[in-house]
Amino acid sequence: MRGPGLVIIVLFSAIGLADSPAADPAKQQDRIASSEQIADAVHPAALLPLRVLSFPYRKVTDGMERGLISFERHKVRQRARMWTDELHNRGVDLRFGGTGEGTGIGGGIQYQIRTGEHHSIGVLGLITAKIYQEADLDWTLAGGIHRLVAESSYQWRPQENFYGLGHDSLREKHSQFALRQSWGGLRYEVQPVRRIRTGILYRVAWISALAGRNPAYSSPDAFFSGLPGYGTQTRLESAGAYLDFDLMQEEYQLGGAAHFGASHQRGLGGSNVDYYAYETQLEGRLPIVPGNSVLVGQANIELNRLSSGSGPIPFYLLPHIGGSSTLRGFALDRFYGTNLMLLSLEYRYRVHPNIQAVPFFDEGQVFDHGADVAWLNWHRNYGFGFRFRTAAGPFLRVDYGRSSEGSEIDVTFGDRKRPPLRGPIRYGGYKQ
């Protein structure tokens, strides 16, 4: 009978039902849990290696906690909001983030001066880590359905990609050039009903393509001799008209939009160029799961027609595709051509009120003549992306695209507004 009794004592001790000899009953009886129990629960001996390994993690999270406590104690967020609200009330808005198209992350300031009941003046200045610079100035007179805008812009883009002309340009010939673009113009716009807008504009532009500023890449002239517009300044005047239909509703509802535009560009001074540009952009949205997902189809066509006797169109004004807003599985501005066709199909669905997932498929091609439009010339890619947004709007896009040339990951902050009519300018102005 002694055997079972001993076994029981040993087992009870092992599971903590009996006291360890070293324990001091007088000290431990008054609390609900013994120090041994607590020690075993908090720092079990068996987990010592894990505890040692997680030391850096604890240090990082402890530091993060201290930092955020200080952040909240000093009400940094509220102060920042108060200051930005105050600035906004004075017409000043700060801009942070990137401007898309590889310009990098930066920031700037926008100043809106309300000079009267119907007119205002806007000033914008931006600079990014890649020394992209932009300065815009506009004056708007708005009354009823009419709007008259005098606008001007200066952009310095020191790292623009160029791989050659045509759909069969080679990736190995990756070069970079710097673009200096200045323009000014007058635009008259009418919006007879909420969903229709039409306008005419006149612009004068001065654009130069110079050697790229990134020593890691050759300039275009290293690969391509006689590139039209390279190394000189082109001066152009442009007149055009556009018509927009906007039938969009909420994000995940049935909707559509259409944009049609036509413009005539003519060289000024010694610039021998004269051509017509036609552009069409279509977008349709079809909800799949109401309130949760939508299928979005987009089509974009740009056609350029030279007038007789005109020299070639400067290469940087040619339609180009590749990058986060066109072909997402290809490098930025991968293909340049006289004309462009682009199709895109996205399935946007909400995984969180502030996060949207987007599997997509894009295909597009550039071509010089209609006869060049061929099945084999299409460049296709597929991929997946996320859109992060706040109540103020989208602030971050991350896209992973895969194509025959490999994979691309695009991270884009902010949003660039589409110019009412592209005409003689390569990029429109920045929009938060």
Binding site: M1, G16, A41, L47, S54, T61, E72, Q78, G291, H352
Partner: protein, 543 residues
């Protein structure tokens, strides 16, 4: 020899039933109020709590290992109950309480009739808060309803009483009414703006504050008057211990009253139960004192606020819910959260509080709370005992304490509280064998069945099974059973409390699904020099 063999088998199998057992006398008061020096104020960051608990904690394997190592709450006595402490006082969970007892116990006296002296305004959060002094010199914070009349104040009043009755330390919140003419501005009144900057307050500031909130139809303002808690030294966290409090030795995620609070919080949809809504009060007696731990701010309960990502998320999903986001992601958005299509707000005075989509095990606060995540079945059962102790009459009186203008609103809240309580009772008291108060009467073991007492199981069809170790189970009905045959060991030594555990008997109740609920283990043994076998304690949902 058969008895010896059975006993041996029992002893050998005991370790498989579980680890540490709080086999000590049923301690009903944990003396954690020993005098300590006044601690420094402890700040917490809500942003950190959200970020860390939503993403960072899962990156550390140590947390997963500690969770796997979790042997249950540490502050439980031999009867599987949390003792009274600076955190918790056993109230309705141990004995029935009348509404008057709750009111009297909370001692939430409203301010004396106006005029009141305004000492300051805090212009933080959704709405301004007024600091006032009544004619008796008592200080109150007046909180307004930011969105809909009566919503937050009613919810906070009701849930203050509920959490008090449950056993927690809560502020003395009442409802009060006033007209602008009832307020007098103190000469030294200050206003604290959104960034915490103070300045002298003017009558214009007071007017501006009042214009931001909507009065009732009769021109009065309705407010939640919270009697100010003196001696606040910051918040406590739902994890770890407070380093400058020597009384605080049990990690908070291992405290029964915080783990089991999940069930109480799920009942009233207290999704905002996080570090920021806690308070440590230094209770000074003479020169030294101790810390008492409070739950504060129930203004978002009953679906009445904190509408980050929409009102219908509250209680169903974290603000950043990896599981729900992942499910939506892999199903390409075709899976829709049920609350997105079926969530509804019936009355604006109530907010999003409904029983239809409530699932006791799937309820979620706004962000993961480690104490809630560590809750095991025993903790949940403990919480469910408290929730189901609120009877229909008491719930009706609690709903009326919200002082809603429309009787249908009161009726809706009472009905929703009752139905959610019953969902909790039906789930947890069916999942865990809900037996209590074990005692030996001769050779019979007798007990109470909480599920039968509270109407979640029928007495006439209730059946149980009893086993010793992993031996064969014996089925029985009724609330007593003959003890199985075993024999006292001759050489067993007493533990530090002079108790000699002998064996553990496992009882399981039949659940509605036809299976057996998680067991309750009853430990039998001798106490002191007595040769008499007696019940030393029990433990629910033993692993």
């Amino acid at each position: 020899m058969m008895r010896v063999a059975a006993l041996l088998l029992t002893a050998c199998l005991l370790p498989a039933w579980g680890g540490d057992v709080p086999l000590r006398p049923p301690l009903w008061a944990d003396p954690d109020g020993k005098p300590i020096a006044r601690p420094q104020k402890q700040d917490v960051s809500e942003l950190y709590a959200v970020v860390y608990n939503s993403w960072f904690r899962h990156l550390n394997a140590e947390h997963a290992a500690l969770r796997a190592h979790d042997r249950g709450a540490l502050d439980v006595n031999a009867w599987d109950e949390a003792p009274d402490s600076s955190w918790f006082t056993n109230r309705i969970g141990r004995q029935p309480m009348a509404f008057a007892e709750i009111l009297g116990g909370l001692d939430a006296r409203p301010p004396e009739p106006p005029p009141w002296t305004v000492e300051g305004v805090t212009d933080e959060g959704y709405t301004p808060k007024l600091n006032i002094r009544d004619s008796a010199g008592r200080h109150y914070i007046l909180k307004f309803d930011p969105v809909a009349a009566e919503r937050n104040s009613g919810a906070e009043r009701i849930c203050t009483l509920i959490f008090y009755a449950a056993g927690y330390n809560v502020p003395r919140n009442t409802l009060a009414y006033f007209r602008p003419a009832d307020l007098r501005l103190d000469d030294a009144a200050t206003i604290k703006d959104a960034v915490g900057k103070k300045r002298r307050m003017t009558a214009a500031d007071l007017d501006a504050a009042l214009t931001r909130v909507k009065p009732l139809g009769d021109g009065r303002y309705r407010v939640l008057a919270s009697f100010m808690i003196d001696g606040g030294v910051g918040a406590f966290k739902y994890t770890g211990t407070r380093k400058d409090d020597p009384n605080d030795v049990i990690p908070h995620e291992l405290r029964r009253e915080l783990r089991g609070m999940y069930v109480v919080a799920s009942w009233v949809n207290h999704a905002d139960a996080g570090d920021k809504n806690t308070l440590d009060q230094y209770v000074a007696e003479n020169e030294k004192g101790f810390l008492r731990h409070y739950l504060v701010d129930f203004g978002s309960t009953l679906g009445s606020g904190d509408f980050v990502n929409g009102p219908y998320r509250v209680g169903h999903e974290y603000v950043f819910d990896g599981a729900a986001m992942g499910r939506t992601l892999v199903t390409f958005g075709i899976w829709r959260r049920p609350w997105e299509t079926e969530g509804r707000i019936t009355y604006p005075e109530v907010g999003y509080y409904q029983p239809e989509l409530f699932e006791p095990r799937k309820w979620k606060p706004n962000y993961p709370n480690l104490a809630f995540e560590r809750m095991d079945e025993a903790d949940a059962y403990w919480g469910a005992k408290i929730v189901t102790a609120f009877n229909d009459e008491l719930i009706q009186q609690l709903a009326e304490a919200g002082e809603y203008s429309r009787p249908e609103v009161t009726a809706y809240i009472a009905d929703a509280l009752k139905r959610r309580r019953d969902i909790i009772g039906s789930y947890w008291l069916d999942r865990i064998t809900p037996l209590e108060d074990f005692a030996l009467q001769g050779d019979r073991l007798v007990f109470r069945d909480v599920a039968i007492e509270r109407g979640y199981a029928k007495d006439d069809s209730r059946s149980y099974q009893l086993s010793v170790g992993h031996g064969g189970a014996t089925g029985f009905q009724g609330h007593s059973v003959h003890l199985p045959a075993f024999r006292l060991p001759e050489r067993a030594a007493p533990d530090r409390y002079g108790r000699v555990p002998v064996t553990a008997i496992r009882i399981q109740s039949r659940s509605r699904s036809g299976g057996w609920a998680l067991p309750v283990e009853v430990f039998l043994g001798r106490n002191g020099d007595s040769a008499q076998l007696e019940v030393l304690g029990w433990r629910h949902a033993a692993r």
